[in-house]
Amino acid sequence: MRFGIVTFPGSNCDYDCYHAIRDILGEKVDYIWHKEISIKNFDCVILPGGFSYGDYLRTGAIARFSPIMQAVKEYTEKGGLVIGICNGFQILLEAELLPGAMLVNKNLQFLCQTVNLKVENYNTPFTLRCAKERILRIPIAHKEGNYYADEGTWPKLKENNQIVFRYCDEQGEISDEANPNGSLFNIAGICNEKRNVLGMMPHPERASEAILGSEDGRLIFESIREYVKKL
């Protein structure tokens, strides 16, 4: 299969995703420059982390206007798989491919640390290989990861099982202490109703090799692969 990684001006984790997919997962992967206007021959598109356009206005706010985003929209409408990681998640929110918005972390600080994640929905192309009840250890690195959705929105997220990951403690308990950034319901990742678009703040590409301290993130890429191979 073939992954595509979009590079916006200011993307940083495009390189890390590329490495994780090519060298660890062993799949084909290409960069997609943000000025491209179509997505062809990719089984999954990754919007990587970083600071597109410096996040100078709001996170992801300018990147959503890049030409590639129109193509991403069309790609998802046709059922294509898209995963937004960190800044990629923020861009998906700004582009309205996922509901809600990001606020600054409750302590106003950038946070780089490994968190525990509870998988709330195993029934997505991104999580089907995650073992039930297994807590994932994956790093976060962001200043704006405080997920917000209004009262018209979040009940639907719950109803449709769109909450995919939540911050928890080592035992899997969801609590305020385990919530690093103030995110609504400890949300760390959500998908769309159709389940083909995932946004998550933690960085699976940083947890795909033993030498980096955790291999749990690889489960997400492996899930995608399994899903695509079964198609």
Partner: protein, 85 residues
């Protein structure tokens, strides 16, 4: 030539982490009479328009499309007839 002053604030009901922390530090510093703080953005545009109505329309567009996220933010603006920025 016009200037647009745009004020962007978080919508009512949206928790404001920045405001909350500033409020707390004001309290610690002895500014006890402040009972609430909200942080927002102040954006200033210099416009080449000849016509104020057109300027207004364009600024409205800019605010809606680019400068704010309607999920969390609201805005208001004023257009000033001015040469100095």
């Amino acid at each position: 030539m016009f200037i647009a002053n745009i004020y962007i604030t978080l919508k009512e009901g949206v928790f404001d982490p920045q405001g909350t922390i500033i409020k707390h530090s004001l309290e610690t510093l002895g500014f006890k009479e402040v009972s609430e703080v909200r942080m927002g953005k102040f954006v200033r545009l210099r416009l080449n328009h000849q016509n104020k109505e057109e300027a207004k329309k364009e600024v409205e567009q800019i605010c809606k499309k680019v400068l704010t996220n309607p999920v969390i933010e609201t805005y208001r603006f004023e257009i000033i007839d001015s040469l100095t920025f």
